[in-house]
């Protein structure tokens, strides 16, 4: 499966990444093209997966050999609001501040 510029642009948008961020339009285009090349190179190697015979094989998403058990539901001490909010880039009182959205 070839990865073209359009696919990279769409994927970057989904990932909230802009490979051309802070670059001039020409440089941004070049950065995107380079990334498309790199990703295409990687995906070309990954395409070997299609050769594996997997019909009837259940996907394995976790190597756990024991089913995880939920923990007991009881109150416990955790970090306090002030400690957590100290890491916030911008805040007012107990709220995170974001740019106006509506």
């Amino acid at each position: 499966m070839p990865i073209d510029l359009k696919t990279v642009r769409h994927t970057a948008e989904l990932a909230r990444l802009d490979p051309g961020h802070g670059l001039s339009p020409d440089e941004a285009e070049a950065a995107l093209a380079k990334l498309a090349d790199e990703l295409a190179g990687i995906v070309a190697h990954i395409d070997i997966l299609s050769e594996a015979e997997t019909s009837g094989v259940e996907p394995l998403y976790s190597p756990l050999i024991e089913a995880p058990a939920p923990r007991e539901d009881r109150p416990a001490d955790c970090a306090h609001i002030e400690e957590i909010l100290r890491a916030a880039p911008d805040r007012v009182g107990n709220f995170y501040v974001v740019p106006k959205i509506i």
């Binding site: 989904l14 909230r16 990703l39 923990r71 880039p89």
Partner: protein, 481 residues
């Protein structure tokens, strides 16, 4: 070898308990060593000198405590473990000034066990890499040859231990990130079974592959660290409820009659002549000691790099979605709207390899490609694990190279991500299968003079026997540090 910082973790432990040395003396010796070696090695992103001196003094005031297995021992932590009140960066601009409000589970356990936390060690950004060159905060040099990389992603941890800055340290292993740097720096490194150690408070890369583990200069040393790290934690529901075992009491196994399976798909890969030579000698020594080497076909390993780079990047793309510039981490200046805040913060603060992997993972999970890539990789993952289980039914342990190359020059693969990914072939299938593996020094390459490692791979939760076999190997192949 008379300096205190040369003591192995187990030796230092004995001397501390016998009051032959104090925690403060050992801490001061290691801090001095860090200060002298850092200008060249640059293994540390943060040195916790003041806290370490205070902790050691406090421990000394109360006196040695045999109930605290790591009493007075100075340790390094890969800068991926959250440390309350101490900057935790993941070697990323995104978290350059992030100070966690809590300790990782493992960090709390180390503190309870009496360890003296000394430094936060360098890594590839968010543990994505095999050479530590992707750190946003500079290169770490291999103490064996400073023109070479230390391996990665726990390159700082391995270089720190190899430079005698601390007798042991903690890394994480998602696709070889403990075992490979351990091998390239001549250390012992253990990747425990998936679920053996809690991942709570470790910045997540790929949650179904990540596992925390120790690095040190002897097998017994990593056993002491594992004893403290392992065990249940209800804040990580993938963490097993099995209690930790008394790993340091593992009895040395016997090489005579030991059945070692050799995964053919790995041994037939092209090995650097230096690696091949050390391995040839190692095989001869093992056979002379009575071990039985059994070549084993594990045909699905040929798909492992491809499956890994889909699954690991898919998980990374979701895990790293949390870095949005809102709640913690770096925020872009003056974004026009919320979407630009997300996009600009991430694009400015995440490095090129991290962005590449997020994009690859997003691609693999996106509509139209999910079945062909993500699902197919997960099916192949089961086949790979089945190969391991079948192979382990026919032998005691599997024996594999750790890296097809000894430590390489800085920049050698800078423009070639695919080749670097292929280099992980030796280590990453073990993560797909969730098995424990112990990376051990096997000797020095005759041409390069650089360390070459071998890894033993065991059954799930069989760390006790794996360490026992490691002790037998250690007798056959003397430590390099």
């Amino acid at each position: 070898m008379s300096e205190l910082y040369h003591l192995t973790l187990s030796e230092a432990r004995e001397k501390l308990l016998d009051r032959e040395i104090s925690a403060s003396e050992l801490t001061a010796a290691c801090l001095g060593r860090i200060e002298r070696s850092e200008p060249e090695i640059r293994a540390c992103l943060t040195v916790m000198a003041e806290q370490a001196v205070q902790t050691a003094a406090e421990l000394d005031r109360r006196g040695p405590d045999p109930e605290r297995p790591l009493w007075g021992l100075p340790l390094g932590l890969k800068d991926l473990y959250c440390t309350k009140g101490v900057r935790t960066t993941a070697a990323s601009r995104m978290l350059e000034n992030y100070v966690p409000a809590y300790d990782a589970h493992v960090v709390s356990k180390l503190k309870e066990a009496g360890a003296v936390l000394m430094c936060k060690t360098n890594l590839d950004e968010f543990a994505m890499g095999s050479s530590t060159e992707f750190s946003a905060f500079g290169l770490t040099r291999n103490p064996w040859d400073q023109s070479k990389i230390p391996g990665g992603s726990s390159g700082g941890a391995a270089a720190s231990v190899a430079a005698y800055q601390t007798p042991g340290g903690l890394g994480t292993d998602t696709g070889g990130s403990i075992r490979q740097p351990a091998a390239l720096c001549g250390c012992v490194g253990l990747k425990p079974t998936y679920g053996r150690v809690s991942r709570y408070g470790i910045l997540a890369f790929a949650s179904s592959l990540d596992q925390a583990g120790p690095l040190a200069r002897r097998v017994r040393d990593v056993a002491w660290l594992l004893k403290v790290m392992a065990g249940p934690d209800d804040r990580d529901n993938t963490c097993s409820t099995r209690p930790a075992e008394d790993y340091p009491s593992a009895a040395p196994g016997k090489l005579k009659g030991l059945r070692l399976g050799l995964p053919q798909e790995l041994w037939e890969a092209r090995l650097d002549p230096d690696v091949a030579e050390v391995v040839k000698k190692a095989f001869a020594a093992l056979e002379a000691a009575g071990a039985v080497l059994i070549p084993m076909a594990m045909p699905n390993l040929r798909y492992s790099v491809a499956a890994y780079y889909i699954l690991a990047t898919a998980e990374a793309s979701t895990n790293l979605a949390r870095f949005d510039g809102l709640r913690y981490g770096r925020r872009s200046e003056k974004p026009r709207d919320l979407t630009e805040l997300y996009t600009a913060s991430r694009s400015e603060a995440l490095g090129p390899e991290v962005q590449r992997r997020i994009l690859l993972g997003t691609f693999a999970l996106s509509a139209g490609y999910y079945d062909a890539y993500y699902q197919q990789a997960a099916r192949v993952r089961r086949l790979i694990r089945d190969d391991y289980f079948q192979a382990l039914d026919r032998c005691d342990f599997l024996l594999a190279p750790v890296s097809s190359l000894p430590a390489w020059d800085f920049g050698r693969f800078a423009h070639d991500p695919v080749t670097v990914y292929q280099l992980d072939l030796m280590t990453l299938p073990v993560n797909l299968a969730g098995l424990p593996a112990l990376s051990l020094p096997a000797g020095l390459g005759p041409r390069s003079g650089l360390p070459v490692g071998l890894q033993l791979i065991g059954r799930p939760f069989d760390e006790m026997n794996l360490l026992g076999a490691g002790l037998a190997f250690e007798e056959a192949f003397p430590p390099l540090l």
